[in-house]
Amino acid sequence: MLAMTTMTPDLDIPGSQSTPAIQSHWQAGRLAMQGDSYPENSYELFDQVIAWVRRFLETERRPLRLELALVYLNTSSVKAMMDIFDLLEDAHEKGRAVSVEWRYDPRNERIAELADEFREDCSYPFAIVPAAAPA
């Protein structure tokens, strides 16, 4: 149990109408987020996500993969996502293997356009993939 305390615990946050579902898998090097994001306190929500990403990139040498199926984002959520993508970019510039896969419902092309705007400054693999909406 003592050894466990040095590990960053994984996130498993259920989604709500205004917050995305978030799951992190330290062992698999994977972080996934799905749904709408316009939380009342987005800093509280995203700080732990950003902290997890930062911690993973600092502690591990393994690749990190983001699997996103985000739909609507309010401004502070957009900012949080930009912060996360910047962390990945910094890591990538230092030679780390990082990647993003953003899935969107093909009935809503706007999502793909916005994901593409996010991708603009990212030099790591960033795929925007049409896929059925998550259940």
Partner: protein, 262 residues
Amino acid sequence: MNKRDEEALLERVAMLLEDPSHAGHPLQDALQALYRQYRAQQEQLERLISISDRYQQLALEARQVTQKRYERVLRRQQKLSRISDGYQAMMRERNQALRQASTHDPLTQLANRRLIDERLREHDATRRGYTLVLLDIDHFKTINDRHGHDVGDRLLVAIAATMREELRDYDLCGRWGGEEFVLLLADTAVSEAWEIVERLRRRVAAVCIAAGRRRLSVTLSAGLSEHFAGEAPDETLQRADQALLQAKRDGRNRSLTAPPPS
């Protein structure tokens, strides 16, 4: 004095100092001291200039770094605004689509009952006059039974399109039920409404749709009622409905105006 003249002068002085024939001359010693003093000062000045240049360079680089950082923050801010605006636009579109879906009939894209009720309440609140018309497709059930709902639906869509073309921008045309339509003609007396409805019925009767090898067309029956001041919209509707019922009983393919409320 420029650099070259200065160097020429110094060389001349150095040569004079080295000339053995001047050795022991009382000025030689003083000039030697002056020459050394000058050289030392020159060296110091050059060092000073070089240090100053380096400081300037550093300040310039610092400014460039600040500028770069500022531009980066600005670019980030712009990106944030751009993406955020994009999401807002998406939300607005989604709201519009929802509003459209909640106020219109998905098959014919005509107004649905909700929108018509809303508009009736508005007219009531602003005491705006109007004539209501209920229209019903004659023998529509027979068409559905004989040719299937697909043909019936196509007929409804074609009739709806014709009605939309025929009406004024401020008239509201809605699908009231299965094969029943409603017209809300604002600021229109029943006599004027009658002309509109008769023209509309003629246009609709000319609409033809293909059903297999046959071509189908239908007629409309209509009931008109002009809203009277103080009358509840429901009553105006009820009178139009009564008039429509009577038009059907009288043999269909006709319009009938409801008598004023009793």
